[in-house]
Symmetry: C2
Subunit: 361 residues, 2 copies
């Protein structure tokens, strides 16, 4: 299967640090990444995967705990993203706690974790680190860059920041400009973390519960949970988790808080809130003006975090620029997280779009 172990590479040394969007500098920066497939002699078959908020570089294979990589269902030999043809690489983003440099990393100046001393980062900063990694690996063209949610924001930034490198750009369940509703939810999530003084993971658990609600749809909640009670016949008349939906969210929150870093959650949600290509480039037109990529914009019908409406606005902007843009709205009632779930329409549109040769340069 030619699937790699997770590797780590130093992409910025202290002698030449990365200048962040905030104008601060950061070094050293390490990037962890996984790859699958074989790179062609011309290095013209590289697909970059960009992961979502709490994702990591492990898109394929099996984790230590036995669970599969986050896109194992879509990426592999003979799958929608076919590793018999493509060399697929996925770096953990700058700022995460999964191997790349982030708030959970050791600050060489203090010898302890950066935590809230980490500088603020943006989606663009993440992309710059990815580009430096690829440059060091001798990769100068991307057959495609693909990502869901925060990963889609990275994909769009790639097309804007490195227009000559990106041949195909596929943002899924994403947006070019994060909405006030999404900003508001993340502000509450951070407040839940920041208001808990004591060490522990209560605040992060609350934040994740809230995030999780926004990843589901109300229809899915009705179908999956309804008002069913958890292991009881009647209300407890206490503040315990009487309802299945409460119990589920509590479990998800606690489980997440055990594996994720609190400061990391603060930084990554902030990077998402800051994502606004209109602000960054003046307009969406200006952002994508120089891009020669073909775009496949994919939205999820029941996604109320980054809505189909937002994807359509992006498509309209790209059409106005006379870009080659396809759009599909996936009819799933699983909500925002649908892109992580087996979905035939998603598989097919990725496969067809990637295999079509019309634009290969």
């Amino acid at each position: 299967m030619s699937i790699s172990e997770i590797q780590t590479r130093r992409v910025f040394e202290e002698s030449a640090p990365l200048v962040l969007s905030s104008s601060e500098t950061l070094a050293p920066i390490d990037v962890a990444y996984q790859s699958m497939g074989t790179i062609s002699p011309k290095k013209d078959n590289v697909i970059l995967l960009c992961h979502a908020l709490t994702g990591d570089s492990q898109f394929a294979g099996t984790r230590d705990d036995g669970s599969p990589g986050w896109w194992n269902n879509l990426v592999g030999p003979g799958k929608a993203i076919d590793t018999d043809r493509y060399f697929v690489i996925c770096p953990a983003v700058l700022g995460t706690c999964h191997g790349s440099t982030g708030p959970a990393s050791l600050n060489p100046k203090t010898g302890s974790a950066y935590a809230r001393d980490f500088p603020m980062i943006t989606i663009e900063d993440m992309v710059r680190c990815q580009q430096e990694l690829l440059r060091q690996l001798g990769i100068t063209k991307l057959y495609a860059v693909i990502g869901g949610s925060m990963g889609g924001m990275q994909a769009l930034s790639w097309a804007a920041l490195f227009p000559d490198m990106v041949q195909r750009c596929i943002p899924i369940a994403s947006t070019a400009q994060v909405s006030p509703l999404a900003i508001a939810f993340d502000a509450v999530a951070r407040q839940a973390i920041l208001s808990v003084d004591s060490p522990g993971c209560e605040g992060l658990s609350t934040a994740r519960m809230l995030g999780h609600i926004t990843y589901l749809s109300d229809v899915l909640m009705d179908h999956r949970f309804g008002r069913s009670l958890q292991d009881r016949e009647d209300y407890s008349y206490t503040f315990d988790s009487d309802f299945q939906v409460e119990s589920y969210l509590n479990y998800k929150g606690r489980q997440f808080a055990e594996r994720f870093d609190e400061a990391t959650y603060l930084y990554l949600t902030r990077a998402v809130s800051y994502f606004d290509m209109e602000k960054e480039y003046g307009s969406l037109q200006a952002a994508f003006e120089k891009s020669t990529a073909r775009f496949l914009v994919i939205s999820i019908r029941s996604d109320w975090l980054y809505t189909p409406e937002q994807s359509k606005q992006l498509v309209h902007s790209l059409m106005k620029l006379n870009k080659n843009v396809s759009y599909i709205d996936i009819d799933s009632h699983y909500g925002h997280d649908s892109f992580l779930i087996d979905n035939r329409a998603l598989e097919e549109s990725l496969y067809v779009f990637l295999e079509s040769r019309s634009h290969v340069t």
Copy 2:
């Protein structure tokens, strides 16, 4: 204007306590209420107003801080709910911190506030206290019972619990069965409160920020805030409230935490989560079987907390029972809280429905 000061009446003495839905007993119970208008000799012009989660008995007139009562725009002489014709009374619900007995009240057994020793209460318990108040005031018929959000749940419970008393029932932006989505949001809100050990109001502030998001619509958020920054030209690259929407929610959260009681918020949201007329009565048909009321069900187009879909389901159930039911979906983009805002369609439908004489007994 014959508007009363807030009055308080003891409705349950320790010698004869209220048996709650949970089977626990509670006494003493005081109920604070405000009234406006003149009761007719036959006492056949009484309209009961039921307030929402964080509301109180002060529906009219001016508060100490100069702000108007919560339905001052709709209730008064010559207004939609015309106090030249009707005697309007609004009790503060059992469990709130606005004059009626609740978690913030003194527990006579300990001499300090009940706080989390208060027994769990339900919407039905609130209604039983209101009914006892009215009984003591010699009121045996309600020309109408009207309420928005949690107030609408009380109005519906009135029609089910006291079918002979209610002539008109008007639930607004409400539901007969709280959805898993609404349960989920309230579970997160309570978790935010319960996870903050230290005294202070950080948890309550977070909870309110979240609640506030669910009272607005995404369209309203786009229109009112967009991605505008608060008193700055560019991002701060900190966790401060850079965005207007963040600043607004923070302000609302802090302001609320100063005037409201933390334990009260826990209890009232739990009462809402527990509200389920299907569970309570076996079915909606069984719930309303004996009611002779005319119903006016009002939903708000942009309300995603208690959706128009839920109101329509209620209307269908009432139609199946051959009840006299009218329905209006108000085309407002202000979200759930639209019923508290000046709205001509709401005013007119209330006025017309109340004035129509066809069914007066």
